[in-house]
Symmetry: C2
Subunit: 200 residues, 2 copies
Amino acid sequence: MNRVITIGREFGSGGRTIAGMVGKELGIPVYDHELLVRIAQESGFAKEYVEEKGESASLNSLIARSLSGMGGYSPMTAEDYLWQMQRKVILELAQKENCVIVGRCADYILRERADCLRAFIYADREKRARRIVAVYGEAGAEMPEKRLLDKDKRRSAFYSAHTDMTWGDPHNYHICLDSGALGLEQCAQILCGIYRKMEE
Amino acid sequence: MNRVITIGREFGSGGRTIAGMVGKELGIPVYDHELLVRIAQESGFAKEYVEEKGESASLNSLIARSLSGMGGYSPMTAEDYLWQMQRKVILELAQKENCVIVGRCADYILRERADCLRAFIYADREKRARRIVAVYGEAGAEMPEKRLLDKDKRRSAFYSAHTDMTWGDPHNYHICLDSGALGLEQCAQILCGIYRKMEE
């Protein structure tokens, strides 16, 4: 059976960079941008749409979801369809090969698999704010803290809506790492160490 | 400056055992039961009282605390005094030597220290229930899940009351480890690895 590492992460925590380091060190593919491409192909949606709607809740979708809970007719929305396609692609990837999968509730989708290491990466707000300005450039310099809060809130809402669990609650993961305190390199090394010990 | 590892833990997660392994491997003292003894000496309270009140909220103390927030005269309670003594002992230990400190909000008390590694150990409820029956014997066999819930709830209330933070929220720790999934030995090894890399 394949071994999979899923990496959930707060915006600006460097989770994506850690995923890249882990994949490189272990010699296994990392599904991050490539995951978007595959979900876009599978669903027929534009990549930008998948990026926008595949792990962040929009205000409209939250309202619609809460209204649909009040009874009455609730047709499948584009977002429900996207969720199904995303789930299908992630399950297929995990079936196919050892890999690292970033975000998109992969931890939840693969929660029944004994060979899946579920990690969550976070950092304090100040360090994340500095990081998004450094990585995403001056465009993000305007109120980076507000941007962080907004992104986290939408990812969290998306996660809760689809999983009935709380985003960032340690119990959903095997390990949670503060990348701001431990450093990206050390986080990657810890994950590689656990992966190597997982039974093949 | 000394290096300190604080280990917060859910009841039954094996956090105390991990602390022992870490201390042994690194050759540094572990303050767990010994911490109780010192706080008892410092405060004049019986060890049993310190054990009972030093990290778990009682219903009475929660009611008193919430009432005192409503204004009026609020004299220092025995529990406030215990908290102050506990804080003093923990600060002194961290000042004195490299060590591991288990529970008792040590992570919060030492939060400003750059040389403190704050860890949280947890596991799913089923694994913890099995563990408390195995470790604490047949006396715990009766409704172990209820016992877990009760203990966690009281530790959580105590932590929130004294720190204004949420017990088990990853942001209060540098690393959170699921001992049920990773195993006690591996958790200990990961903590030792980080400790060794901390600057002296």
